[in-house]
Symmetry: C2
Amino acid sequence: MDLLDLHPAPERDRRWMQIAYEEALRAAEEGEVPVGAVVVAGSRLLGRGHNRTETLQDPTAHAEMLAITAAANTLGSWRLEGASLYVTLEPCLMCAGAIFLARVKRLTYATPDPKRGVLGSVIDVSGHETLNHHTEVEAGPMSEECSALLKTFFEKLRKDARSDRD
Amino acid sequence: MDLLDLHPAPERDRRWMQIAYEEALRAAEEGEVPVGAVVVAGSRLLGRGHNRTETLQDPTAHAEMLAITAAANTLGSWRLEGASLYVTLEPCLMCAGAIFLARVKRLTYATPDPKRGVLGSVIDVSGHETLNHHTEVEAGPMSEECSALLKTFFEKLRKDARSDRD
């Protein structure tokens, strides 16, 4: 499917990560930890999502999960073979598992997650031959923007918590 | 919440695993890999689910995920603190991650999964201090029944595949 995409790789990656970033902005507007994700195949956007755990009160409603389910709905198949997933933050255990199960070909994340990331930060399951048969993992563009968005969000959260105490 | 449950532990575990097993039977009837799960708190069933990846064409629709989302809906909260999850098969990366995120207190599984299980079989993430703050993991009752159900399912699948080739 990648043959359909004639953009050079860095431009292509930046374009898709920009859309994932816009999803993260939406999450921030909704008071959610700002993480966004898209699933694409070639030049086609198959699914997008942003973190909605608080809005839905559902611990499984991470950006990647919603983007994967949306993409599977678009294709009418749970097998996202050949697809790429772009996400603004390094995936957690749950999301990495879902990405591997969905047979995503290529995963690009913008910024590492030292608290929950399982693709190099806390542990690295990406190279485990039994757990991951399909997915190549890469660090992607827009690390600073995606990281700054999270930092601003958590600073505001702490500030609001202090105001509540005063 | 466990104080509300006056059944002795082995009887209680068997009773809940029996309901998870009945969910697995439903999955088998629907042509799905037969796995079932329930989330409970004390004597209250909060959510139940069985594997529906083929029916929904959604790679995230594992039994545990559906049971967790159902339980969060019942409680109106993504925090399943104090709750127990019973599942017929050792969880995969995705489901273990979801169980940890949901702050499930106690996870009981019936039979190990040598292909995907991440609580002892392929790897063991249950004791990782950064990834799991809340969940105690135990092997539970009905291992033979839950294992036999999976074995029968995969034998039939292979037999059907051979018939298709003949």
